[in-house]
């Protein structure tokens, strides 16, 4: 670098730091996906995003430092902002976070009849902040999502124990019909463990520009196998999704259009 004047060196180092950060963020994301392959796909996605965010934070601070700005100022700013957000938006964040975990871990869905505390009713809506029940008296009860993390929730729907509902987000770049077909094929390996009357079904919950939110429903045969089957299904989703995401990335890198079905 002897031919570059010293005052211009940061402008060379910063892009290099950013490229390295990008590579490390990708590596971290892949590592997390590999380690957590039997966890819920939504949790894995969250963890991958968090891991990448941490790497980007460190890389960003390194880049800022390279530009001659004290990283302490940036850290202080982030810390104060975070503290203010946590204090000011605590109820909101609590409900929002609970919604995320309820979606992944709570054994109920829209359409089920549940009991939470003194309230019993049919779940007709689960939004970012509340879960809405329709009671037998035809009244609406809106329950903060945070409640579901504190209270005992009883699902009163018949044979609710059988049903595993697993949310998953399929990136828009993935060929959805092919992904679904492969996932169903993979899940047929579990047929002895699942209720033969209810083959796995994927339903679409929402669509965004980046991904399609699906819900996989499988029905188990024995309650004691619930955890093991859940972990296995998670692993199959992660593996299938990983293969398809990798394929889509390779196609994108090669500049190909999507292959014929």
């Amino acid at each position: 670098m002897a031919f570059i004047p010293t005052e211009y060196l940061p402008f060379v180092y910063v892009p290099i730091i950013l490229v390295i950060t990008w590579l490390l963020a990708r590596l971290t994301s892949l590592l997390i996906a590999s380690v957590m392959r039997s966890s819920n796909p939504q949790v894995v996605l969250g963890a991958r995003r968090l891991g990448a965010l941490v790497v980007w934070l460190v890389g960003g601070i390194a880049a800022i430092q390279e530009l001659g700005i004290s990283p302490l100022i940036a850290l202080l700013f982030i810390a104060l902002f975070g503290l203010a957000a946590i204090l000011g938006l605590r109820p909101v964040l609590e409900n929002f976070g609970s919604r995320y975990f309820a979606d992944v871990y709570s054994p109920f869905k829209v359409g089920d009849t549940i009991r939470v505390g003194a309230e019993t009713g049919k779940v007709i809506e689960i939004n970012a902040m509340t879960t809405v029940l329709l009671t037998e008296a035809d009244t609406l009860v809106s329950l903060p999502n945070a409640l579901f993390m504190r209270e005992v929730v009883t699902n009163l729907s018949p044979q609710a124990w059988k049903e595993l509902t697993i949310p998953l987000a399929v990136p828009s770049v993935v060929d959805l019909p092919a992904f679904e077909s492969e996932l169903l094929k993979s899940l047929t390996k579990l047929r002895l463990r699942l209720d033969k009357r209810f083959p796995p079904v994927l339903t679409t919950r929402a669509r965004g520009p980046q991904s399609t939110d699906l819900m996989l429903t499988v029905m188990i045969r024995r309650p004691e196998e619930r955890d093991a089957i859940l972990a296995d299904v998670h692993a199959r989703i992660s593996d299938t999704l990983g293969r398809f995401t990798g394929r889509a990335s390779r196609r994108a890198n090669a500049g190909e259009s999507s292959a014929a079905p």
């Binding site: 492969e182 079904v201 929402a206």
Partner: protein, 405 residues
Amino acid sequence: MVYPLVRRLTAEGRMRDAHWVSLNPTGPETVRLPGLTLHNVRMRPQRMAGYGRTKEAIWGTIHGLNAPSASAGLFWTDSFSEYAYYNRLTAERIRALDKEEDFDLFYIHDFQQLPVGQMLDTLKPKVFRWHIPFDADTIPEEWAALITSYLDAYDLVIVSTDRYRESLVRFGYKGDVLRFYPYVDPAEYARPTPGEAAATCAKFAIGPEDAFVLVVARMDPAKGQDRALLAFAEVAKNRPHLRLVLVGNGSFSGAKSGLGLSKADRWRERLRGLAEELHIADRVVFTGHVSQAELDGLYERCLFTLLPSTNEGFGLVVVESWLHRRPAIVTIRAGISELIEDGKNGLLFDPESSSDLARQMVRLLDDPAELAARLVRHGRTTARKCSLEEAAQAESLLLERLLEA
């Protein structure tokens, strides 16, 4: 059947800018016709084969042709994942089109596309037309939950007969169920001149002195041509100039350009073998596929027609027979049988008994003038219930109801 309806509704201004999505592995991606755009869904041959196997298995089971073991575990096979693939591909295509066109309604036809409703994440009205028989008792218990969940994704299901409607309600479907009879366009049935009819018969070596009974059906075990052969062998003994003409070829599933199966070929060979065994091979004509003009000629010259199916969603060939002024003998296992009063507008028989069919054939052969005239006269009145006119009226009212709602 659907295309003439779309054409009619479009011409009458009751429908506009219709889009039609269907499986066509060899067609171009899009075909534009006046008032209608066709979108062909294409799949690789391996996927087509899996889809075809599942489709045939469902079809055979619903028609009561398959042993229970054939249906066991069908929804857990690799083939079923290809069936799901085709349906998702179709649903995604419809969704993409809806994004551009903002459709008012989705009208899904037949069991091959049954899962599409569940895969289409829309709040717009979704109607499903079930074209094949619906008998809750023939649906394996193992399938009931999945079929129910697929059907429940639709706001309304249309079936072809009152019997299927009752069965669907008994099966547990909670949405609206309507019965619309399948239909033909009477304007499309031309009466050939005697010369044209004679030329067609000559092509199939049917002489002017020969009388014949006509079966118009795809080459498929469910169509019961074997029943027709058995009954024909009984009645033909004392009628040396009587012949049996079997018109029909394979379906899309059996065509080389279609799903590549050979069910029709296998069935035709079996029928030929049976005709040999019954010593009637020289009196049975297999025409294969014929043109519409040739079919008109065969209808014109035949004595009467048979619908010998072991299970038939409806049986529009009976309506065609009436429109050609020919009486029909109809299996009680066809949907259209609920419109037939034995001895008034048709003759009914049990497909499990070839003697029963032979008995009805003899009735017509022995009393051709009076009985045939009565059956045709009343049959033609019944045929109006299965006309494009009636269907367009019913479908328009339905569309208005759904769209106003």
